[in-house]
């Protein structure tokens, strides 16, 4: 007789301040210790209460093989822990943990992601994600590629440089209420548009900053979630998809994988959405792909444009969205994460509160 899968919720979230450069190591320990303390302490849990651990990080971001290995020092992983790691944004580690909880083999999971982008030259490091035979040998940088995508949308009439600047201005204004944001402040669109191009048609405000940071989320199943939290963020849909890597072979003005993930996850009746859009035009693209109307509050945290810790920023978006449910501010929220060049891979997590 098959068992039914338990319901899973996010019950805790913590993240470090988003900063241009930390003095810590690339193994993330200095960033992780305080946020583990914060998230576990806030729930009254200790490490032995966690049934499954999963993390996301990148060796190329750190410049070393096995850079994730020492991160478990931050946990104090003895006695041994049940643990796994994805070489992806930690939003996908959250997905792996969610699946683990669905099997019933664990009731709680702690997920974390960390990245010290400042260790290397991020624009060049990300060229290593491209086709190693046909594209990487040209060393295209991430901002140059994003500019191509932005122009396609501009020239097809899907968005404009002004609409992009409006996204930047709104994000920075919203980030004023986020003490962990790297950038915030009141800026007006006209003065943004008066700035020179960084990579025509992109200006500096169109691009996420280079950020060091880490984030962590605690998941719990069923009654365990209700014990730990008065208003858990129950996951009602959690899906991810990938697109072809062929940059000139897929339609860059939309994202088939985001459309599919949003549809499968049930991205409707959303109050608040946190979208992982490292470029202003990508927020506009994603709103369209996910069918988010004007009534949806997008990126009240300021989003990745105000702090983009690689390999943690997607997880942080989900955490920020969940926080609105945990605090009672919102009923139904959406967290989104992306990975790979030009939104190649997308993940959508829909959560809701229950009173």
């Amino acid at each position: 007789m098959p068992n039914s899968a338990p319901e899973i919720a996010i019950v805790g979230f913590a993240q470090t301040p988003c900063v241009r450069s930390t003095t810590g190591t690339t193994n993330g320990v200095e960033m992780l210790v305080p946020i583990f303390h914060e998230v576990l302490g806030g729930l009254g849990l200790s490490k032995t209460d966690i049934g499954f651990w999963c993390s996301g990080s990148s060796d190329y971001l750190a410049g070393r093989a096995f850079s994730f290995v020492s991160a478990v020092d931050a946990i104090g992983a003895f006695p041994p822990i049940v643990e796994s790691h994805v070489e992806m944004d930690a939003a996908w580690a959250l997905y792996e943990a969610y699946v683990k909880l669905l099997t019933g083999e664990a009731e709680t999971a702690l997920v974390y992601g960390f990245g010290k982008s400042s260790a290397g030259q991020l624009r060049r490091v990300l060229a290593m994600q491209l086709d190693p035979y046909l594209v990487t040998p040209l060393w295209p940088d991430s901002i140059g590629l994003a500019g191509i995508q932005a122009r396609m949308g501009i020239e097809s009439g899907l968005w404009s440089e002004r609409a992009m600047a409006e996204v930047a201005a709104r994000s920075r204004a919203d980030a004023m209420s986020n003490p962990l944001a790297q950038f915030s402040g009141a800026v007006d669109v006209e003065s943004l548009l008066a700035e020179p191009y960084l990579a025509d048609p992109l200006r500096r405000h169109d691009c996420a900053p280079i950020t060091d940071g880490a984030a962590t989320i605690v998941l719990a199943a069923g009654d365990r979630a209700r014990e730990l939290c008065s208003r858990p963020a129950w996951i009602t849909g959690f899906e991810h998809r990938v697109d072809s890597p062929s940059l000139g072979g897929r339609d860059l003005t939309t994202s088939a994988s985001a459309v599919a993930a949003g549809k499968a996850a049930g991205a409707d009746r959303i109050d608040v959405a946190e979208l992982h859009a490292p470029f202003t035009h990508q927020e506009l693209l994603l709103r369209q792909a996910l069918g988010l109307g004007d009534e949806v509050k997008v990126n009240p945290s300021g989003g990745a444009l105000c702090g983009n810790p690689m390999f943690a920023a997607g997880l942080a978006r989900i955490g920020e969205a969940a926080r609105r449910v945990l605090s009672g501010e919102a009923e139904r929220v959406l967290g989104h994460a992306t990975s790979g060049p030009l939104l190649q891979q997308n993940l959508v997590c829909v959560m809701e509160g229950r009173d």
Partner: protein, 382 residues
Amino acid sequence: MAVQLAAVVGTGQTHHAAKRLDVSMAGLCREAVDRAMADAGVDWPDIDAVVVGKAPDLFEGVMMPELFLADALGANGKPLLRVHTAGSVGGSTANVAASLVRSGVHQRVLAVAFEKQSESNAMWALSVPTPFTMPVHAGAGGYFAPHVRSYIRRAGAPEHIGAMVAVKDRRNGSRNPYAHLRQPDITLESVQASAMLWDPIRYDETCPSSDGACAVVISSSATTGQPAWIHATAMRTEPTTFAGRDQVNPQAGQDAAHALWKQAGIRDPLSEVDVAEIYVPFSWFEPMWLENLGFTDVGQGWKLTEAGETEIGGRLPVNPSGGVLSSNPIGASGMLRFAEAAMQVMGRAGDHQVDRARVALGHAYGGGSQFFAMWVVSSEKP
């Protein structure tokens, strides 16, 4: 406990070699994937999701290579996950794929693991000199050789055990058409005459460096032929080093095995498991892991090896495929153990088939003997 059952319904692997210069990375993966899908009798529309495992990205010089491989892996429009848990990754990847089915999320998942070591030089990738860090002065085997010495001292094991394992695994490898090293004529004397690289480890007691890939199709129901039902999976991690750490018999391995046997309902692994594919990159790790896995008491593992009980036809055949000592595409090595265990209970292991194999162990470890992944598969439903 799971929402639904999961079984391996197809396996595939490449012909492993030092340099597979006839294929690209995509071509290497597809050689294994196409064989696994044909073995399972499934086609692309049957696959719900793809899970990729690989050791460090620096080996191939591609950051998150699953992204550029999405077309080749038939993943477009589907969920694609990339697992990296050091040397255990092939096993972890299979376990994650199993979870995707056991949780009820998917009905059929393709798991792929690969390493194309010839794109670079693993020794280089593992030893980029990190500032302020003391160079070990020891090279690849230098990390593990001192722990092998500790084992020999603690267990009082005679010196020839390491050579015996090498002979067995290489002879087994000669029965496996996919093995990188196939040495039917290897002898105890020839192993003992080979160069002592990292005393106490000899050249013939070390694994090769291979290009290769492995794939498995995991399904909630049988497709064609006998499936390998997944009875239990386990993963455990501990830090690389800490005060008082037992490097010979790591707690993480013991804990993983304990959880595995419990979940599989196995009380006496030595009598209840018919065949084991264990991650043995240096021959001495066979007796070490036999103890760590609980097949024997501590200090007794080498006696099982010495008595010939780990040969095909013995009480617990270990690595009938030839194991890591015969083929070592690092990222895929763990999945090869898991797949070979499945092939045994599916009755599809060809010339290295163990008679009446019904219950099999697949085992992988990585890092400084700190990441463990295992599964138990059986010809019978749980």
